[in-house]
Amino acid sequence: MRSFAYVSAPDVASAITAIGASPNAKFIGGGTNLVDLMREDIETPDTVIDITRLPLTGIEELPGGGVRIGALVRNSHLAADRLIRTRYPMLSQALLSGASGQLRNMATVGGNLLQRTRCAYFYDSAAACNKREPGSGCDAIGGFNRNLGVLGVSESCIATNPSDMCVALAALDAIVEVESVRGTRRIPLADFHRLPGSTPHLETELAADELVTAVELPALPVAAKSRYRKVRDRSSYAFALVSVAAALDVRDGMVSEVRLALGGVATKPWRAHEAERILLGAPAGEESYQRAAAAELSAAVGRPENEFKIELARRAIVATLRALDGSVA
Protein backbone atom coordinates (compact mmCIF):
# COMPACT_ATOMS: atom_id res chain seq x y z
CA MET A 1 0.00 0.00 0.00
CA ARG A 2 1.20 3.48 -0.81
CA SER A 3 1.46 5.96 2.01
CA PHE A 4 -1.20 8.58 2.50
CA ALA A 5 -2.22 11.29 4.90
CA TYR A 6 -4.89 10.45 7.44
CA VAL A 7 -7.49 12.61 9.07
CA SER A 8 -10.39 11.75 11.27
CA ALA A 9 -13.49 13.89 10.86
CA PRO A 10 -15.53 14.61 13.99
CA ASP A 11 -18.62 15.81 12.16
CA VAL A 12 -20.15 15.95 8.71
CA ALA A 13 -19.16 19.56 8.12
CA SER A 14 -15.50 18.79 8.78
CA ALA A 15 -15.63 15.72 6.57
CA ILE A 16 -17.02 17.50 3.55
CA THR A 17 -14.73 20.44 4.08
CA ALA A 18 -11.74 18.15 4.25
CA ILE A 19 -12.62 16.30 1.07
CA GLY A 20 -13.30 19.56 -0.67
CA ALA A 21 -9.74 20.58 0.16
CA SER A 22 -8.11 17.38 -1.16
CA PRO A 23 -9.14 16.40 -4.65
CA ASN A 24 -7.50 12.96 -4.41
CA ALA A 25 -8.91 12.10 -1.00
CA LYS A 26 -11.19 9.21 -0.08
CA PHE A 27 -13.55 8.71 2.82
CA ILE A 28 -12.98 5.57 4.80
CA GLY A 29 -15.73 3.84 6.75
CA GLY A 30 -15.47 0.13 7.47
CA GLY A 31 -12.57 -0.07 5.04
CA THR A 32 -13.50 -3.55 3.88
CA ASN A 33 -13.32 -2.65 0.20
CA LEU A 34 -11.11 0.44 0.24
CA VAL A 35 -8.26 -1.05 2.27
CA ASP A 36 -8.21 -4.10 0.02
CA LEU A 37 -8.14 -1.93 -3.10
CA MET A 38 -5.42 0.31 -1.69
CA ARG A 39 -3.34 -2.76 -0.89
CA GLU A 40 -3.84 -3.91 -4.50
CA ASP A 41 -2.75 -0.45 -5.66
CA ILE A 42 -6.06 0.14 -7.40
CA GLU A 43 -7.20 2.91 -5.10
CA THR A 44 -4.37 5.36 -4.43
CA PRO A 45 -5.76 8.27 -2.42
CA ASP A 46 -3.26 10.78 -1.09
CA THR A 47 -5.50 11.49 1.87
CA VAL A 48 -7.88 9.21 3.71
CA ILE A 49 -10.63 10.86 5.71
CA ASP A 50 -11.97 8.65 8.48
CA ILE A 51 -15.70 9.15 8.85
CA THR A 52 -16.38 6.40 11.37
CA ARG A 53 -16.86 8.92 14.17
CA LEU A 54 -19.62 10.81 12.35
CA PRO A 55 -23.02 10.54 14.03
CA LEU A 56 -24.62 8.73 11.11
CA THR A 57 -25.42 5.47 12.85
CA GLY A 58 -29.15 5.75 13.46
CA ILE A 59 -32.03 3.73 12.04
CA GLU A 60 -35.20 5.79 12.40
CA GLU A 61 -38.78 5.19 11.50
CA LEU A 62 -40.13 7.93 9.25
CA PRO A 63 -43.62 9.33 9.45
CA GLY A 64 -45.74 7.33 7.03
CA GLY A 65 -43.89 4.07 7.55
CA GLY A 66 -40.56 4.54 5.80
CA VAL A 67 -37.17 4.09 7.39
CA ARG A 68 -34.10 6.31 7.40
CA ILE A 69 -30.75 4.58 7.73
CA GLY A 70 -27.58 6.46 8.63
CA ALA A 71 -24.73 5.92 6.18
CA LEU A 72 -22.50 4.51 8.90
CA VAL A 73 -24.92 1.88 10.12
CA ARG A 74 -23.03 -1.35 9.80
CA ASN A 75 -24.40 -4.16 7.65
CA SER A 76 -24.84 -6.57 10.55
CA HIS A 77 -26.77 -4.05 12.61
CA LEU A 78 -29.02 -3.13 9.73
CA ALA A 79 -29.72 -6.78 8.97
CA ALA A 80 -30.67 -7.43 12.59
CA ASP A 81 -32.85 -4.38 12.98
CA ARG A 82 -36.45 -5.31 13.77
CA LEU A 83 -37.93 -2.63 11.51
CA ILE A 84 -35.92 -3.92 8.60
CA ARG A 85 -36.59 -7.55 9.36
CA THR A 86 -40.33 -7.05 9.55
CA ARG A 87 -40.92 -4.38 6.90
CA TYR A 88 -38.16 -5.16 4.39
CA PRO A 89 -37.04 -8.75 4.97
CA MET A 90 -35.39 -8.87 1.52
CA LEU A 91 -32.95 -6.21 2.68
CA SER A 92 -32.06 -8.09 5.84
CA GLN A 93 -31.60 -11.28 3.83
CA ALA A 94 -29.50 -9.53 1.19
CA LEU A 95 -27.18 -8.15 3.84
CA LEU A 96 -26.89 -11.49 5.61
CA SER A 97 -26.06 -13.28 2.38
CA GLY A 98 -23.13 -10.95 1.76
CA ALA A 99 -19.54 -11.47 2.88
CA SER A 100 -18.97 -12.89 6.38
CA GLY A 101 -20.01 -12.11 9.92
CA GLN A 102 -16.76 -10.23 10.50
CA LEU A 103 -17.06 -8.14 7.35
CA ARG A 104 -20.70 -7.35 8.01
CA ASN A 105 -19.66 -6.00 11.42
CA MET A 106 -17.29 -3.62 9.67
CA ALA A 107 -18.95 -2.68 6.39
CA THR A 108 -21.23 0.34 6.38
CA VAL A 109 -24.30 1.14 4.34
CA GLY A 110 -22.55 4.04 2.65
CA GLY A 111 -19.53 1.93 1.78
CA ASN A 112 -21.66 -0.90 0.48
CA LEU A 113 -23.28 1.55 -1.97
CA LEU A 114 -19.81 2.24 -3.37
CA GLN A 115 -18.51 -1.33 -3.46
CA ARG A 116 -16.42 -1.91 -6.57
CA THR A 117 -16.47 -4.84 -8.95
CA ARG A 118 -14.71 -8.18 -8.34
CA CYS A 119 -13.73 -8.54 -12.01
CA ALA A 120 -10.34 -10.30 -12.04
CA TYR A 121 -8.98 -7.96 -14.68
CA PHE A 122 -9.95 -4.92 -12.64
CA TYR A 123 -7.99 -6.38 -9.75
CA ASP A 124 -4.84 -7.25 -11.71
CA SER A 125 -2.91 -4.14 -12.65
CA ALA A 126 -1.06 -6.15 -15.32
CA ALA A 127 -4.32 -6.50 -17.25
CA ALA A 128 -6.13 -4.03 -19.48
CA CYS A 129 -9.18 -2.57 -17.76
CA ASN A 130 -11.15 0.46 -18.86
CA LYS A 131 -12.59 0.84 -15.39
CA ARG A 132 -9.21 0.97 -13.69
CA GLU A 133 -7.35 2.70 -16.48
CA PRO A 134 -9.68 4.45 -18.91
CA GLY A 135 -8.89 3.66 -22.53
CA SER A 136 -6.66 0.67 -21.80
CA GLY A 137 -9.15 -1.86 -23.10
CA CYS A 138 -10.98 -4.77 -21.54
CA ASP A 139 -9.24 -8.10 -21.06
CA ALA A 140 -12.34 -9.53 -19.42
CA ILE A 141 -14.48 -9.62 -22.54
CA GLY A 142 -12.23 -12.22 -24.14
CA GLY A 143 -11.03 -13.69 -20.86
CA PHE A 144 -12.47 -15.17 -17.69
CA ASN A 145 -15.90 -13.65 -17.43
CA ARG A 146 -17.98 -16.40 -15.91
CA ASN A 147 -18.82 -14.11 -12.97
CA LEU A 148 -19.39 -11.00 -15.09
CA GLY A 149 -22.41 -9.25 -16.49
CA VAL A 150 -24.99 -9.99 -19.15
CA LEU A 151 -27.21 -6.95 -18.58
CA GLY A 152 -26.24 -3.32 -18.94
CA VAL A 153 -22.92 -4.26 -20.47
CA SER A 154 -20.97 -2.29 -23.03
CA GLU A 155 -18.05 -2.85 -25.37
CA SER A 156 -15.91 -1.17 -22.74
CA CYS A 157 -16.92 -3.09 -19.69
CA ILE A 158 -18.93 -6.08 -18.53
CA ALA A 159 -18.02 -5.91 -14.85
CA THR A 160 -20.77 -6.71 -12.38
CA ASN A 161 -21.69 -4.67 -9.37
CA PRO A 162 -21.02 -7.05 -6.48
CA SER A 163 -23.32 -5.59 -3.83
CA ASP A 164 -26.17 -7.65 -2.43
CA MET A 165 -27.57 -4.79 -0.38
CA CYS A 166 -27.95 -2.56 -3.43
CA VAL A 167 -30.08 -5.14 -5.20
CA ALA A 168 -32.59 -4.99 -2.38
CA LEU A 169 -32.35 -1.20 -2.28
CA ALA A 170 -33.05 -1.09 -6.01
CA ALA A 171 -36.19 -3.14 -5.54
CA LEU A 172 -37.27 -0.98 -2.61
CA ASP A 173 -36.95 2.40 -4.43
CA ALA A 174 -34.44 3.62 -1.90
CA ILE A 175 -33.21 7.20 -1.89
CA VAL A 176 -29.56 8.02 -1.27
CA GLU A 177 -28.92 11.28 0.56
CA VAL A 178 -25.58 12.91 -0.10
CA GLU A 179 -23.99 16.05 1.23
CA SER A 180 -21.23 18.37 0.11
CA VAL A 181 -20.26 21.98 0.69
CA ARG A 182 -22.80 22.75 -2.01
CA GLY A 183 -25.63 21.29 0.03
CA THR A 184 -27.74 18.15 0.20
CA ARG A 185 -28.94 16.02 -2.70
CA ARG A 186 -31.34 13.10 -2.75
CA ILE A 187 -30.57 10.56 -5.47
CA PRO A 188 -32.90 7.66 -6.23
CA LEU A 189 -30.96 4.40 -5.94
CA ALA A 190 -32.00 3.60 -9.50
CA ASP A 191 -30.00 6.60 -10.68
CA PHE A 192 -27.18 6.33 -8.17
CA HIS A 193 -25.15 3.74 -10.11
CA ARG A 194 -24.26 4.37 -13.74
CA LEU A 195 -24.16 2.02 -16.67
CA PRO A 196 -20.59 1.62 -17.94
CA GLY A 197 -21.14 2.85 -21.48
CA SER A 198 -17.83 4.16 -22.72
CA THR A 199 -16.90 5.51 -19.28
CA PRO A 200 -16.86 2.52 -16.94
CA HIS A 201 -14.54 4.32 -14.56
CA LEU A 202 -17.44 6.59 -13.62
CA GLU A 203 -19.46 4.25 -11.46
CA THR A 204 -21.89 6.44 -9.55
CA GLU A 205 -23.51 9.85 -9.61
CA LEU A 206 -21.67 10.73 -6.43
CA ALA A 207 -19.33 13.68 -6.99
CA ALA A 208 -15.79 13.37 -5.68
CA ASP A 209 -16.53 15.81 -2.87
CA GLU A 210 -19.87 14.36 -1.79
CA LEU A 211 -20.49 12.24 1.30
CA VAL A 212 -23.27 9.69 1.52
CA THR A 213 -25.09 10.52 4.74
CA ALA A 214 -28.21 8.37 4.67
CA VAL A 215 -30.41 5.95 2.77
CA GLU A 216 -34.16 6.28 2.99
CA LEU A 217 -36.60 3.51 2.34
CA PRO A 218 -40.10 4.61 1.44
CA ALA A 219 -43.09 2.95 3.05
CA LEU A 220 -43.77 -0.17 0.98
CA PRO A 221 -46.26 -2.59 2.50
CA VAL A 222 -45.63 -5.20 -0.20
CA ALA A 223 -42.03 -5.47 0.98
CA ALA A 224 -43.14 -7.12 4.20
CA LYS A 225 -43.57 -10.20 2.04
CA SER A 226 -40.29 -10.23 0.21
CA ARG A 227 -37.17 -12.27 -0.09
CA TYR A 228 -33.65 -12.24 -1.41
CA ARG A 229 -32.39 -15.33 -3.17
CA LYS A 230 -28.67 -15.55 -3.83
CA VAL A 231 -27.10 -18.21 -6.04
CA ARG A 232 -23.35 -18.64 -5.79
CA ASP A 233 -20.45 -21.07 -6.09
CA ARG A 234 -20.19 -21.83 -2.38
CA SER A 235 -22.92 -22.27 0.22
CA SER A 236 -21.73 -19.09 1.90
CA TYR A 237 -19.08 -16.36 1.67
CA ALA A 238 -19.05 -15.91 -2.09
CA PHE A 239 -20.24 -13.26 -4.48
CA ALA A 240 -23.47 -13.82 -6.37
CA LEU A 241 -23.63 -15.51 -9.73
CA VAL A 242 -27.27 -14.46 -9.77
CA SER A 243 -29.39 -12.94 -7.08
CA VAL A 244 -33.02 -11.93 -6.99
CA ALA A 245 -34.73 -9.47 -4.68
CA ALA A 246 -38.46 -9.78 -4.95
CA ALA A 247 -41.65 -8.66 -3.25
CA LEU A 248 -45.01 -9.90 -4.38
CA ASP A 249 -48.61 -9.34 -3.47
CA VAL A 250 -51.32 -11.50 -4.98
CA ARG A 251 -55.00 -10.56 -4.74
CA ASP A 252 -57.66 -12.86 -6.13
CA GLY A 253 -55.08 -14.78 -8.06
CA MET A 254 -53.70 -11.69 -9.77
CA VAL A 255 -50.41 -9.92 -9.10
CA SER A 256 -51.48 -6.70 -7.41
CA GLU A 257 -48.04 -5.43 -6.58
CA VAL A 258 -44.51 -6.53 -7.35
CA ARG A 259 -40.93 -5.42 -6.92
CA LEU A 260 -38.10 -7.25 -8.64
CA ALA A 261 -34.38 -6.58 -8.90
CA LEU A 262 -31.39 -8.65 -9.97
CA GLY A 263 -27.82 -8.93 -8.79
CA GLY A 264 -24.76 -10.71 -10.12
CA VAL A 265 -25.88 -10.34 -13.72
CA ALA A 266 -25.62 -6.64 -14.38
CA THR A 267 -23.19 -3.79 -14.37
CA LYS A 268 -25.36 -2.03 -11.80
CA PRO A 269 -27.99 -3.15 -9.29
CA TRP A 270 -30.68 -4.12 -11.79
CA ARG A 271 -34.28 -3.16 -11.26
CA ALA A 272 -36.36 -5.45 -13.44
CA HIS A 273 -38.88 -2.89 -14.66
CA GLU A 274 -39.86 -4.85 -17.72
CA ALA A 275 -40.63 -7.95 -15.71
CA GLU A 276 -42.60 -5.93 -13.18
CA ARG A 277 -44.62 -4.35 -15.99
CA ILE A 278 -45.60 -7.76 -17.30
CA LEU A 279 -46.38 -9.18 -13.90
CA LEU A 280 -48.53 -6.37 -12.62
CA GLY A 281 -52.16 -7.38 -13.09
CA ALA A 282 -51.23 -10.73 -14.60
CA PRO A 283 -52.38 -14.02 -13.11
CA ALA A 284 -49.99 -15.15 -10.42
CA GLY A 285 -48.33 -18.33 -11.54
CA GLU A 286 -45.63 -20.11 -13.46
CA GLU A 287 -46.64 -18.88 -16.89
CA SER A 288 -46.59 -15.20 -15.94
CA TYR A 289 -43.34 -15.58 -14.07
CA GLN A 290 -41.71 -17.28 -17.04
CA ARG A 291 -42.94 -14.60 -19.40
CA ALA A 292 -41.77 -11.80 -17.15
CA ALA A 293 -38.33 -13.33 -16.64
CA ALA A 294 -37.88 -13.96 -20.35
CA ALA A 295 -38.86 -10.39 -21.17
CA GLU A 296 -36.47 -8.92 -18.66
CA LEU A 297 -33.62 -11.07 -19.95
CA SER A 298 -34.34 -10.61 -23.63
CA ALA A 299 -31.77 -7.84 -23.80
CA ALA A 300 -29.10 -9.91 -22.05
CA VAL A 301 -25.80 -10.41 -23.84
CA GLY A 302 -24.09 -13.65 -22.91
CA ARG A 303 -20.58 -14.80 -23.70
CA PRO A 304 -19.41 -18.41 -23.77
CA GLU A 305 -18.41 -18.32 -20.11
CA ASN A 306 -21.36 -16.43 -18.67
CA GLU A 307 -24.17 -17.31 -21.04
CA PHE A 308 -25.49 -19.66 -18.34
CA LYS A 309 -26.38 -16.67 -16.20
CA ILE A 310 -29.28 -15.83 -18.48
CA GLU A 311 -30.87 -19.22 -17.94
CA LEU A 312 -29.92 -19.21 -14.27
CA ALA A 313 -31.43 -15.77 -13.77
CA ARG A 314 -34.63 -16.87 -15.49
CA ARG A 315 -34.91 -19.87 -13.20
CA ALA A 316 -34.00 -17.90 -10.10
CA ILE A 317 -36.61 -15.23 -10.84
CA VAL A 318 -39.33 -17.79 -11.37
CA ALA A 319 -38.35 -19.81 -8.30
CA THR A 320 -38.26 -16.72 -6.10
CA LEU A 321 -41.67 -15.54 -7.25
CA ARG A 322 -43.04 -19.04 -6.80
CA ALA A 323 -41.73 -19.10 -3.25
CA LEU A 324 -43.40 -15.74 -2.55
CA ASP A 325 -46.82 -16.60 -3.91
CA GLY A 326 -46.98 -19.52 -1.54
CA SER A 327 -47.13 -22.19 -4.23
CA VAL A 328 -43.80 -23.62 -3.06
CA ALA A 329 -42.53 -23.49 0.49
Binding site: S8, D11, T32, V35, D36, T86, A99, M106, S236
Partner: protein
Protein backbone atom coordinates in the same frame (compact mmCIF):
# COMPACT_ATOMS: atom_id res chain seq x y z
CA UNK B 1 -14.14 27.69 6.10
CA UNK B 2 -11.18 26.57 8.16
CA UNK B 3 -10.43 22.99 8.97
CA UNK B 4 -11.26 21.69 12.37
CA UNK B 5 -7.94 21.36 14.22
CA UNK B 6 -8.34 17.62 14.36
CA UNK B 7 -8.78 17.24 10.64
CA UNK B 8 -5.61 18.89 9.48
CA UNK B 9 -4.03 16.13 7.41
CA UNK B 10 -0.67 14.83 8.54
CA UNK B 11 1.64 14.57 5.57
CA UNK B 12 1.91 11.22 3.85
CA UNK B 13 4.79 8.99 4.89
CA UNK B 14 4.75 10.23 8.45
CA UNK B 15 3.76 8.35 11.53
CA UNK B 16 1.17 9.29 14.06
CA UNK B 17 0.34 8.34 17.58
CA UNK B 18 -2.23 5.58 17.87
CA UNK B 19 -3.65 4.62 21.24
CA UNK B 20 -5.27 1.24 21.43
CA UNK B 21 -6.62 -0.69 24.35
CA UNK B 22 -5.50 -4.23 23.71
CA UNK B 23 -6.50 -7.10 26.00
CA UNK B 24 -7.18 -4.63 28.77
CA UNK B 25 -3.92 -2.69 28.53
CA UNK B 26 -3.44 0.77 27.05
CA UNK B 27 -0.88 0.68 24.26
CA UNK B 28 0.50 3.70 22.46
CA UNK B 29 2.16 3.23 19.09
CA UNK B 30 3.76 5.44 16.47
CA UNK B 31 2.35 4.15 13.21
CA UNK B 32 2.14 5.16 9.60
CA UNK B 33 -1.56 5.50 8.80
CA UNK B 34 -1.50 2.63 6.31
CA UNK B 35 -0.56 0.11 9.02
CA UNK B 36 -3.42 -2.31 9.39
CA UNK B 37 -4.74 -3.26 12.78
CA UNK B 38 -3.40 -6.74 12.07
CA UNK B 39 0.14 -5.54 11.39
CA UNK B 40 -0.04 -3.25 14.40
CA UNK B 41 -0.87 -6.22 16.61
CA UNK B 42 1.67 -8.58 15.08
CA UNK B 43 4.58 -6.45 14.02
CA UNK B 44 4.36 -3.56 16.45
CA UNK B 45 2.92 -5.12 19.61
CA UNK B 46 4.38 -8.59 19.06
CA UNK B 47 1.00 -10.23 19.56
CA UNK B 48 1.55 -13.09 17.12
CA UNK B 49 -1.52 -15.05 18.13
CA UNK B 50 -3.61 -13.18 15.57
CA UNK B 51 -2.75 -14.63 12.16
CA UNK B 52 -2.37 -13.26 8.67
CA UNK B 53 -3.74 -15.73 6.14
CA UNK B 54 -4.65 -13.66 3.12
CA UNK B 55 -4.56 -9.96 3.95
CA UNK B 56 -7.61 -9.75 1.71
CA UNK B 57 -10.48 -10.20 4.14
CA UNK B 58 -11.10 -13.61 2.66
CA UNK B 59 -9.99 -16.15 5.28
CA UNK B 60 -10.82 -14.88 8.77
CA UNK B 61 -7.50 -15.91 10.34
CA UNK B 62 -7.03 -12.33 11.55
CA UNK B 63 -10.33 -12.19 13.43
CA UNK B 64 -10.21 -10.15 16.64
CA UNK B 65 -12.89 -8.60 18.78
CA UNK B 66 -13.38 -4.83 18.76
CA UNK B 67 -15.57 -3.81 21.69
CA UNK B 68 -16.76 -7.42 21.66
CA UNK B 69 -17.62 -7.53 17.96
CA UNK B 70 -15.67 -9.77 15.61
CA UNK B 71 -13.84 -8.04 12.77
CA UNK B 72 -11.11 -8.81 10.25
CA UNK B 73 -8.04 -6.98 11.49
CA UNK B 74 -6.41 -7.12 8.04
CA UNK B 75 -8.95 -4.87 6.35
CA UNK B 76 -8.85 -2.03 8.77
CA UNK B 77 -6.37 0.69 9.58
CA UNK B 78 -5.05 0.59 13.12
CA UNK B 79 -5.50 4.34 13.45
CA UNK B 80 -9.24 3.91 12.97
CA UNK B 81 -9.41 1.90 16.16
CA UNK B 82 -8.02 4.59 18.41
CA UNK B 83 -9.62 4.29 21.81
CA UNK B 84 -11.36 1.01 21.01
CA UNK B 85 -11.06 -2.15 23.11
CA UNK B 86 -9.39 -4.87 21.08
CA UNK B 87 -9.35 -8.46 22.27
CA UNK B 88 -7.02 -10.94 20.62
CA UNK B 89 -6.54 -14.64 21.31
CA UNK B 90 -3.96 -13.68 23.92
CA UNK B 91 -6.71 -11.86 25.78
CA UNK B 92 -9.26 -14.66 25.63
CA UNK B 93 -9.46 -15.68 29.26
CA UNK B 94 -12.42 -18.03 29.35
CA UNK B 95 -10.73 -21.32 28.53
CA UNK B 96 -13.90 -23.34 28.07
CA UNK B 97 -14.14 -22.83 24.34
CA UNK B 98 -10.42 -23.43 23.89
CA UNK B 99 -10.60 -26.69 25.80
CA UNK B 100 -13.59 -27.73 23.71
CA UNK B 101 -11.55 -27.08 20.55
CA UNK B 102 -8.86 -29.43 21.88
CA UNK B 103 -11.33 -32.10 22.94
CA UNK B 104 -13.10 -32.08 19.58
CA UNK B 105 -9.87 -31.71 17.60
CA UNK B 106 -11.17 -28.50 16.07
CA UNK B 107 -7.89 -27.80 14.29
CA UNK B 108 -4.93 -29.52 12.75
CA UNK B 109 -2.10 -27.14 11.87
CA UNK B 110 -3.47 -24.54 14.28
CA UNK B 111 -2.96 -21.54 12.02
CA UNK B 112 -6.62 -20.57 11.60
CA UNK B 113 -7.46 -21.49 15.18
CA UNK B 114 -7.06 -18.09 16.86
CA UNK B 115 -9.39 -16.60 14.29
CA UNK B 116 -11.89 -19.43 14.64
CA UNK B 117 -11.98 -19.01 18.42
CA UNK B 118 -12.28 -15.21 18.37
CA UNK B 119 -14.91 -15.49 15.66
CA UNK B 120 -16.85 -18.05 17.67
CA UNK B 121 -16.86 -15.77 20.72
CA UNK B 122 -18.18 -12.89 18.63
CA UNK B 123 -20.65 -15.15 16.88
CA UNK B 124 -22.07 -16.52 20.13
CA UNK B 125 -22.55 -12.96 21.38
CA UNK B 126 -24.32 -12.02 18.14
CA UNK B 127 -26.58 -15.00 18.48
CA UNK B 128 -27.31 -14.21 22.11
CA UNK B 129 -28.26 -10.69 21.03
CA UNK B 130 -30.82 -12.15 18.63
CA UNK B 131 -29.02 -11.38 15.40
CA UNK B 132 -30.22 -13.56 12.53
CA UNK B 133 -28.16 -15.32 9.87
CA UNK B 134 -28.73 -16.15 6.22
CA UNK B 135 -30.13 -19.54 7.17
CA UNK B 136 -32.44 -18.25 9.90
CA UNK B 137 -35.98 -18.97 8.82
CA UNK B 138 -38.62 -16.30 9.32
CA UNK B 139 -42.20 -16.28 8.30
CA UNK B 140 -43.03 -13.25 6.21
CA UNK B 141 -44.65 -10.45 8.08
CA UNK B 142 -44.05 -11.97 11.47
CA UNK B 143 -44.46 -9.24 13.99
CA UNK B 144 -42.65 -11.28 16.60
CA UNK B 145 -39.33 -12.52 15.35
CA UNK B 146 -38.28 -15.64 17.10
CA UNK B 147 -34.63 -16.20 17.82
CA UNK B 148 -32.87 -18.90 15.89
CA UNK B 149 -31.84 -22.03 17.70
CA UNK B 150 -28.09 -22.49 17.36
CA UNK B 151 -28.22 -25.58 15.16
CA UNK B 152 -25.21 -26.99 13.33
CA UNK B 153 -26.51 -25.32 10.17
CA UNK B 154 -26.65 -21.95 11.97
CA UNK B 155 -23.13 -22.38 13.33
CA UNK B 156 -21.78 -23.39 9.95
CA UNK B 157 -23.33 -20.40 8.20
CA UNK B 158 -22.27 -17.95 10.90
CA UNK B 159 -18.71 -19.31 10.97
CA UNK B 160 -18.27 -19.37 7.19
CA UNK B 161 -16.01 -16.34 7.32
CA UNK B 162 -13.29 -18.50 8.87
CA UNK B 163 -11.59 -20.85 6.44
CA UNK B 164 -9.81 -23.96 7.64
CA UNK B 165 -7.81 -25.60 4.87
CA UNK B 166 -6.99 -28.59 7.06
CA UNK B 167 -10.73 -29.21 7.04
CA UNK B 168 -11.30 -29.32 10.80
CA UNK B 169 -14.78 -27.86 10.36
CA UNK B 170 -16.62 -30.76 12.03
CA UNK B 171 -14.58 -30.47 15.21
CA UNK B 172 -14.91 -26.69 15.28
CA UNK B 173 -18.69 -26.83 14.96
CA UNK B 174 -18.94 -29.56 17.60
CA UNK B 175 -16.77 -27.56 19.99
CA UNK B 176 -18.83 -24.41 19.55
CA UNK B 177 -22.11 -26.25 19.89
CA UNK B 178 -20.97 -27.93 23.08
CA UNK B 179 -20.00 -24.62 24.65
CA UNK B 180 -23.18 -22.92 23.46
CA UNK B 181 -25.40 -25.46 25.17
Amino acid sequence: MTLHPEVRPRPAGHTMEVRLRVNGADRTLQLAPQVSLLDALREHLGLMGTKKGCDQGACGACTVLADGERINACLTLAVQYTGREITTIEGVTDGELQRAFVRHDGFQCGYCTSGQICSAIGMLAEHAAGMPSAVTEHRHGDAELTDAELTQAEIRERMSGNLCRCGAYNGIVDAIQEVAR
